[in-house]
Structure formats: structure tokens, C-alpha cells
């Protein structure tokens, strides 16, 4: 393979979902030379699938303010979220949502012309009172689609330079000080590898929810940024925390928004009982997602599931009437008819908890700067590299994310990363650093191995085993023996993933090669999850262990850091001190 071409930019954004495109807009305003790399056309990014809304305390329908939103987010995180970052996000929510509206995002409207807002799980008034806050700003049940297209449109207007169907493969670091000075990337149409050199590189690659067999996530959610970071020696934070969304369509995995329950829908077991009343007497079906998913799993385990195999529950919404369903939940109706063969105007939708969101990721501060332990500091800034969105762990979601906080996370931290990158680039000397000797060789070696392999493991077999293993060993409820054997199985799978073989040797749009490369990223994502989960001997948020059923703040109020090399673990303290207000002290978490 020939030496890669070198392309020089001021900044690189890897990923063109919500956070990447929000950052790109910020960079465009500073007249920088920016490249946005995406392995799919921007509007195909997974942000498009978000449904229910984006959180902001606009108070258009109920009294609200950022303090309440902050409290809900801290409590929702089961006190693992960093309170400085959470304050930062909640305080900027109104600003970024209003900006989206000004950009043309087609929010639904109230009679007075303001943005329509609906209730969502865990969002309350007055610091957890039984009264829910209407905080979720919605465009029907297609909020992510409306947001992603709006951000793309603004980037068209700003003349952003997109490299569409270019897959970033590895980070390039300067051996002198560890600074990231670019990435390697594969142009899918030609099979050519280039080096993209830049003063600042943002990872905005989304999550890796494809490590599970049953997932709401798109095929493309393969943890690419996590793999890149892990291979470059950076840690991954809090990877044991995966959100199971209570309402994936049973058997299909496709998401049914929590907005259904926000609009007044509720869950039933086989006895027709509204069982959430037993688990969360106040918030009921609008408790946090971890709480609802555990309740549902318990109902199924105790034999109160529905259907022939008693393996799912029912989401009832017909009482909302066709008018509300068609106006506020039209996409859900379409999905239910297509994927569950039921029309929710008449019949309930069969649902099960389904993996949906990765709370962990590449560790950053709230300006998007990647931070890692070095010397005496647990959070030294790694120069040149930033991360935002689902691939980052800021950490605002801690051990459990609230619905509608993900879209907010994308735009707040997409914007703040862009601002920080602008600042950092302006303060750097004009010329680019020299590329180290052998830059890109790691990537070329990976590709050369795939191209020359004459036999080995089929990618699809390894992938299926990986997904099955994570589903069995790292689910809603976790058991010590399963966690230990899960790590062992993952180690065997990682070895197999290093011996994959593909039949397709073509240069042109070789999707077999792409899937093999994605598998390597999924392995890092899954391995970090299994190892981190096995080690955390408590139950917190989405991580629930049978042998340690309680939260243990004394030993475990800390973030996990996993390193690829030797599967090493490290820990760092939670930022319990906010920026300007009093700390929300950990309490028993009930809804």
C-alpha cells in the first residue's frame, strides 16, 4: 500500500451527528479550515433517530428553572454525574435550544406560538416534587430528525467541508508530549487512506450500542471514537453504565419514545395491572429509565410478562385518542404498525427494555477537552484532542441519563467544544507540528493484515458472539459469576477479532472491510464495559448487581477509567462541587 496522502486543516471533526455538526458550525464562524469526516452522509447519523425531545427549562407550560433541571439530572445520574458539568449544561440549555429554533428547527407550538413542551421521565418541579415539569421541547416524535437536518442545513449555509463516507481509523499522537495531531481515515469509495493533520481534533462519533444483541442503535453505532481513543492509549470512563430504554419494540429493538408515557401512555403487565405504581408511587411510568427497566425485568422474571412466552409488557396509549397520537406521536404509530403489527390507536404495543445509550465514553471536561491521569493529576488535559456527544463522558449522565438530556448534551457540548477549539487554535503557533516518523503505520498495518489474510474468523461470527455475550453477561441485572465469565469470554472474542478474514478484497466501497474495522472498535467498547462492570461492586443507576444490591458511596462514588493495555483500571473522584451553587448531597433515590 502506498504512503498515505497528507491533508492539512486547522481542525478536524470526526462524526457528523448532532454534536459534530454543532461544533462544526462554531468552528465555521471563526474562519478556520475545518474538515468534517463522517462514515455516512450527515443526515444518516444516529441523532436522526431521537424521538421525544430536547430538555430546556423554557417554562412554556409549567414553572421551571435550571436549578430544578440540574437537581433532576444529578439525581437521575445516581450522584455519579459531575455537578460542575451538569450545572454548565443546564444553564446553557435555554440558549442552545433557542438557537436551534432560530436556525429553523420545526418545533411543535403552543397556542401562544411558543415551543411545545411535554413531560418526560425524571424531570420534576421543585427538586423532585411529585409534580412533573414539562421540559421536553419536541418536534412531534421526530425531534432528532428535525434537529439533525436543521444542523446539516446550517452547515450547508456555512459551507462546511464534509468528507462524506470517510471512516476515521486511528489517532496520530506526537510522541514528544502525547498531543493528538491528526487522524488516519479511509475513503470508502476508493479504499485510499489519508492522514488528516490538524491542530485540534474532535471525536463526535456517537455510541457503541451495537455491542448488544437487542439494541435501539443503528448499524453504524460501533464505538469508533472509543476504539480510536483506546488504541491510542487514552482511557475510557464509566463504561459499565449502559442505559436500557424501557420501551424497545419486543423482538425488533426499534425505539418507542418515552414521550408516549410523557403524553399519558402507561405500561401494563399480563394481569392488566399498571405495575409502575408499585415501584415508583409518585412518578409511576415517568420514573427514571433505569428504575422502569428494572421494574419491567422484574415483572417478566416473576411471571407477569405478556404474550405466549410471557417475555414482554404492554405499552397502552389508545386512551390518548387518535387526534393526540396523530399529532404528537405519528412516527410511533408508523413504527408500531410496521414493526409490532399493532395500531396503537386501538391496541397496546409489546415492549421490552432494550439497550439504548452509553453513559460512559472518552473522559472530558465541560469544554470538551479530553482529560486523562498524568503525574499527580487525574485530569490532565491531553493537547489537541476533544470529544463531545455520546462518545464522550463529561460526565453529565453519570450512572443513568434522563430522557431528552442526550440531545441537549449534543448541542451544549458540541458548541462548547467548538468554542474551546477556536480558542486553542488561535493561541497556537501558525505552522503545524511535524508528523512523527511512521505516522499512519498502525492503520496501514491493520488494513494490510485484513487484505493479506487468506483464512481466519468470519467477521459476522465474531460479531454475533460478542453481541450475544454482552447481552447474556451484562444486562439489566448483573450477577457476579456471569460478570467474571463475561470478561473471560470477551478476552477470547478479542483474540478472534484479531484473526478475522474477509473474502472481499476490492478497493471500491468494500463494506466487508468497514465491518471488520468496526468490529475492532466494538471489541474495545465491549471489553471496557465487561471489565469495568465486573470491578464495580455496588449497584448504581444502570449498573445493578445481585451480590451488591445497594449503592455504596463510601467505596464507589468515583469514576472508572479503563485502559486497553492490560485491561488496567484506574479511578478518579466525582466532581461533587458545582460551579456556583451548593452541592446536591447524595440521597436515597426514589421516584
Amino acid at each position: 500500500m502506498s504512503a498515505p496522502a497528507i491533508r492539512k486543516f486547522d481542525a478536524i471533526v470526526v462524526g457528523a451527528g448532532g454534536s459534530g455538526m454543532r461544533a462544526a458550525l462554531e468552528l465555521a464562524r471563526n474562519n478556520l479550515k475545518v474538515a468534517v469526516l463522517s462514515k455516512v452522509f450527515p443526515t444518516r447519523s444516529h441523532t436522526v433517530a431521537a424521538q421525544g425531545g430536547i430538555a430546556a427549562p423554557l417554562a412554556n407550560s409549567t414553572e421551571d428553572n435550571w436549578h430544578w433541571h440540574m437537581y433532576d439530572t444529578v439525581k437521575g445520574s445516581d450522584y455519579l454525574g459531575d455537578q460542575d458539568a451538569i450545572e454548565y449544561m443546564c444553564r446553557r440549555a435555554i440558549e442552545v435550544v433557542v438557537e436551534l429554533e432560530h436556525m429553523g428547527m420545526p418545533f411543535d407550538r403552543l397556542e401562544n406560538g411558543k415551543i411545545y413542551q411535554r413531560p418526560f421521565g425524571g424531570h420534576t418541579q421543585a427538586y423532585g416534587s411529585p409534580k412533573m415539569a414539562m421540559r421536553s421541547c419536541a418536534a412531534a416524535d421526530r425531534t432528532g430528525h428535525a434537529m439533525l437536518h436543521t444542523l446539516y442545513q446550517q452547515n450547508v449555509r456555512a459551507n462546511t467541508q464534509f468528507f462524506v463516507e470517510w471512516m476515521a481509523l486511528d489517532l496520530i499522537r506526537d510522541p514528544q508530549d502525547g498531543a493528538v495531531i491528526g487522524v488516519t481515515a479511509l475513503e470508502m469509495e476508493t479504499g485510499e487512506v489519508s492522514i488528516f493533520q490538524a491542530k485540534a481534533t474532535l471525536l463526535a462519533t456517537g455510541g457503541g450500542g451495537r455491542i448488544y444483541q437487542a439494541t435501539t442503535n443503528a448499524f453504524i453505532n460501533t464505538g469508533d471514537g472509543l476504539g480510536m481513543a483506546a488504541r491510542a492509549g487514552l482511557p475510557l470512563e464509566d463504561m459499565e453504565f449502559w442505559q436500557f430504554h424501557p420501551t424497545g419494540v419486543a423482538g425488533a429493538g426499534v425505539l418507542i419514545t418515552e414521550g408516549v408515557r410523557g403524553e399519558g401512555g402507561y405500561l401494563l403487565n399480563k394481569n392488566g395491572e399498571r405495575f409502575m405504581e408499585r415501584y415508583a408511587p409518585n412518578a409511576k411510568d415517568l420514573a427514571s429509565r433505569d428504575v422502569v427497566s428494572r421494574a419491567m425485568t422484574t415483572e417478566i422474571k416473576e411471571g407477569r410478562g405478556c404474550g405466549e412466552h410471557a417475555d414482554h409488557l404492554l405499552l397502552k396509549l389508545d386512551h390518548l385518542g387518535p387526534e393526540v397520537i396523530n399529532l404528537r406521536l405519528p412516527g410511533i404509530r408508523e413504527i408500531a404498525i410496521k414493526f409490532a403489527n399493532v395500531d396503537p390507536v386501538r391496541d397496546p404495543i409489546p415492549v421490552v427494555p432494550t439497550v439504548h445509550y452509553q453513559m460512559g465514553g472518552v473522559p472530558t471536561n465541560y469544554m470538551g477537552q479530553v482529560v486523562a491521569p498524568e503525574g499527580n493529576s487525574k485530569e490532565a488535559i491531553v493537547p489537541g484532542i476533544y470529544a463531545a456527544g455520546e462518545c464522550a463522558c463529561v460526565s453529565v449522565h453519570g450512572a443513568n441519563r434522563l430522557g431528552t438530556n442526550s440531545l441537549l448534551d449534543l448541542v451544549v457540548f458540541g458548541k462548547s467544544s467548538g468554542e474551546q477549539m477556536n480558542k486553542d487554535i488561535n493561541s497556537m503557533p501558525r505552522p503545524q507540528r511535524n508528523l512523527p516518523k511512521g505516522a499512519g503505520e498502525q492503520t496501514l498495518a491493520r488494513l494490510a493484515r485484513l487484505d493479506s489474510a487468506k483464512g481466519g474468523e468470519r467477521v459476522v461470527d465474531v460479531l454475533n458472539d460478542l453481541r450475544r455475550t454482552m447481552q447474556m453477561h451484562c444486562g439489566v441485572f448483573r450477577f457476579p459469576d456471569d460478570l467474571v465469565s463475561g470478561v473471560a469470554k470477551m478476552k477470547a472474542i478479542a483474540e478472534r477479532a484479531a484473526r478475522t478474514y474477509i473474502q472481499d478484497k476490492s478497493k471500491v466501497f468494500n463494506t466487508a472491510r468497514i465491518e471488520a474495522l468496526e468490529l475492532e472498535n466494538l471489541v474495545e467498547t465491549a471489553m471496557s464495559t465487561a471489565v469495568s462492570a465486573e470491578a464495580r461492586k455496588e449497584s448504581r443507576g444502570a449498573h445493578t448487581r445481585s451480590d451488591h444490591p445497594e449503592r455504596d458511596d463510601k467505596s464507589w462514588m468515583r469514576h472508572t477509567l479503563w485502559y486497553k493495555e492490560g485491561n488496567r483500571l484506574d479511578y478518579k473522584p466525582v466532581h461533587q462541587r458545582p460551579l456556583s451553587v451548593e452541592t446536591f448531597e447524595p440521597k436515597v433515590r426514589t421516584y
Binding site: 436556525m103 411558543k114 443503528a218 412516527g331 410496521k338
Partner: protein, 231 residues
């Protein structure tokens, strides 16, 4: 089931050909995409785009038994035992089922697909009544899958000059937005023998749209606006 898939790899094939694949379905396979993924598991050289697998990202638009549609929401139960899958018609094929969509996106970009409002932005949201917002329904939901434009004979003949149904649907989405101030500029942009007026209301676009949108109706409304401003 039997899948006949259009194959072409410029790296090794002199010309395209159709290739049959027998795929064993089970209860978990609901959609055509499931069958294609199974075929690819048997033969990893089959190339196609896919992502969300729920009909919102617009990646997996193909010509399925002669009609454009999204594989991920095309039910196997509603297809015959033998299914022929070809790339979207009218666009250059890069490989197998993957087409070059440059021309399609160029037309989309040409309609100024963003709200233009030069007033200083207010501190909070711009107001819009629910009735005015409703005007955007049936427009903003487009997923840019290109099923419509690549089923349109006018787009086949003049993909460089005729904006096509997808681009025109979006042109109207911004004309219909009460927050937008560039109506005159937008109509000027389409005032041309080709860009708008090559639509001959054949309505293939309406027939194939997987999101049940109606580009022909939107195009009619743009034509109305043109007429109204000229009288």
C-alpha cells in the same frame, strides 16, 4: 427466499450482472433488509448502505421488484418468494447497490435549504402559531433517501437541470415557513424552464415515498406562488 441482487464491482467486473442468493428466513426476519443482511453474512462481497433499520435515516433505498423503497421497512411477508433488488435508477452505480448521490444532493443544496431571516434574533424563540407550524407537516419529515427523485422520468432526463421532487419538496418547506423571509429570492431561484417546470405531475414520487409525503402537491403550491406573484 430467493434474492436476485444487482452486482457490479468496477475493480473486477467488466459489466454488471444479476446474482441469485438463497436465503433461509426465520421468525426474526421481518423486513427485506434482514434478508439482505443474511445474504451478506453468506457472501461478504455484497455491498449496500444501511444504518438505522427503522426508516428514518434514508440509507437503504433500492429498487425492489421494480419499485423504489427502503429495504428496512419493506415487509418480507408482503413480498413474493423471489425478490429482485437493484440500485436506485438514474444515478451512477459505484458498486453493487451503492449509487453516487452527488447529483441528488447538489439539487437539494441548490434550493437554499435553510431558514433565512435577517431580523436580529430575539432573546427567546420566534413565535409561530400551531396552524402555521402545521403547514410544515408533510414537508420537514423528508429523509433524503432519493426514492422519489430516482423514480421521476424528468429527473432521469435532466438530473443536472431539474431540481427533482425531493429538492422541490424542501424548497416548499422553506417557502411555507412563516419564519422565513426569502420568498422572492426562493421563487427567483426556481423561475427557469427546468428547475421547477420540468415536473409533469407524473406522480411516481408520491407513489414511492416511504414517508408518505407528497412532493407533487408541494410543487403545485410553488407553481401557484409563481403565478400569484406574476399577476
Amino acid at each position: 427466499m430467493r434474492l436476485s441482487i444487482y452486482r457490479y464491482d468496477p475493480d473486477k467486473d467488466a459489466r454488471p450482472y444479476m446474482q441469485d442468493h438463497e436465503v433461509k428466513l426465520d421468525g426474526h426476519d421481518r423486513m427485506l433488509l434482514d434478508a439482505l443482511v443474511k445474504a451478506k453474512a453468506q457472501d461478504d462481497t455484497i455491498a449496500f448502505r444501511r444504518s438505522c433499520r427503522e426508516g428514518v435515516c434514508g440509507s437503504d433505498a433500492f429498487n425492489i421488484n421494480g419499485k423504489n423503497g427502503l429495504a428496512c421497512i419493506t415487509k418480507l411477508a408482503e413480498l413474493p418468494e423471489h425478490v429482485t433488488v437493484r440500485p436506485l435508477p438514474g444515478l451512477p452505480v459505484i458498486r453493487d447497490l451503492i449509487v453516487d448521490m452527488t447529483q441528488f444532493f447538489k439539487q437539494y443544496h441548490s434550493v437554499m435549504p435553510y431558514v433565512i431571516n435577517n431580523d436580529p434574533p430575539p432573546e427567546r424563540e420566534r413565535l409561530q402559531s400551531p396552524q402555521d407550524r402545521e403547514e410544515l407537516n408533510g414537508l420537514y419529515e423528508c429523509i433524503l433517501c432519493a426514492c422519489c427523485s430516482t423514480s421521476c422520468p424528468s429527473f432521469w432526463w435532466n438530473p443536472d437541470k431539474f431540481v427533482g421532487p425531493a429538492g422541490l419538496l424542501q424548497a416548499y418547506r422553506f417557502l411555507a415557513d412563516t419564519r422565513d423571509q426569502a420568498t422572492a429570492e426562493r421563487l427567483d431561484n426556481l423561475e427557469d424552464p427546468y428547475r421547477l417546470f420540468r415536473c409533469h405531475t407524473i406522480m411516481n414520487c408520491v407513489d414511492v415515498c416511504p414517508k408518505h409525503l407528497n412532493p407533487t402537491k408541494a410543487i403545485g403550491k410553488i407553481k401557484d406562488m409563481m403565478v400569484r406573484r406574476s399577476v
